[in-house]
């Protein structure tokens, strides 16, 4: 039980900001993309959002993002609509109260303007599935480092493939190399 009120306005503002920035960047900005982009923003670009991610079926996930999204939807900061496709996805777009929610945390958004810009440029155009693979590779690389394991392209590719066998090995390796080239994961030389 806490004495102080904890309303995560910064996280609400971030969700609105991403919805605005991605409106033109991709055809459908849904819940999986939101999960993975916030994960990458935290882990790769070091923006402290306070989310605690765990590895789930579709890569790094925290239910807290969904709770925050639901609240921002309820505040009309974003509009979340169900897209009638076989996959049953969602579309997140800026809502009628997007401006006041962002305004409340304008300093936070301004402080991380550059990092947000880079996140959108680096990852904004990827599909949910492509983001799933990239976020998983980042998660696994960090997990291996924490466990003191040597992270090589080969070892990381194998580990990600074990977790996500439905991605071809070649695709995983290419993503690992792409993340290495971007400097978003630290990989030691093979051998």
């Amino acid at each position: 039980m806490i004495k102080d009120l904890q309303i995560p306005w910064q996280r609400y503002a971030l969700i609105v900001e991403l919805a605005q920035r991605l409106q033109t960047k991709r055809s459908q900005f849904g819940k999986t993309a939101l999960q993975k982009l916030i994960y990458l923003l935290q882990e790769v670009y070091g923006v402290k959002c306070g989310y605690d991610y765990k590895l789930y079926t579709y890569g790094p996930f925290t239910s807290q993002v969904l709770q925050d999204l639901d609240q921002v939807d309820s505040l009309s900061g974003v509009d979340v609509t169900s897209v009638p496709t076989d996959l049953g996805g969602y579309r997140i777009e800026p809502g009628k109260n997007a401006a006041p929610i962002k305004e409340k945390e304008s300093n936070f958004i301004a402080e991380h303007e550059g990092k947000l810009e880079r996140l959108i440029n680096d990852y904004g155009a990827f599909s949910a599935k492509e983001l799933e693979l990239r976020a998983t590779a980042v998660y696994v690389a960090r997990d291996m480092q924490r466990d003191g394991k040597k992270v090589t392209v080969e070892a990381l590719t194998q580990m990600v493939h074990d977790i996500k066998p439905y991605f071809p090995r070649e695709e995983i390796q290419s993503v690992v190399e792409e993340l290495q080239d971007k400097g978003h994961i630290k990989v030691a030389a093979d051998g």
């Binding site: 102080d4 009120l5 309303i7 819940k31 239910s63 639901d70 505040l75």
Partner: protein, 180 residues
Amino acid sequence: MMFTQVYFHRTRRAYDKHLVGVMRTLLAESGGLFPPPSDIEKLEYYIKWDDWRVFGHLADGKGGVDGKAILGRSHDRCVFETPERPENDDLHFLENIRKRLGDNVSFVDQTEKSWYAPGDTDIWINPRSSRGKTEKLSKLSPVVRGLKEVNQSRIYVPERLRQKCQQIVDQEEAKRESKG
């Protein structure tokens, strides 16, 4: 319904808080926590902490301030709560009330758990009609899909300050209403 009317019932939540306080007091010698079950001795000590032992200490007046609140039914009182699905104005008003009540506040209770959160945590089911193909429950059930998170917040104060704090809240409510 289960969530708001049972788990998040306003009085039950106050007793949750008092019970945590009682346990902290009773377990003061082990730092306010149950001992870790790292060896047989600690495990046996842990097992001894059953309901009867706690009730006995409580009845003997060893539960501290929170124990007194439970025994005397003088639990903390909720003086303000937001709607289950607060809007922007409700959250700003909540912040204002929290500020106005200052040090009088005993605790703030905010829901974090959801009834049902669609997404990666969705329940996968295997309906007879799908011939072995699994589907997300939220995709097949409009009722489940329509469930929304509860994001209610409540502010509690000690019973002795209830009247004074309720007046402050009422004044603020009146001001808010007059502003339209």
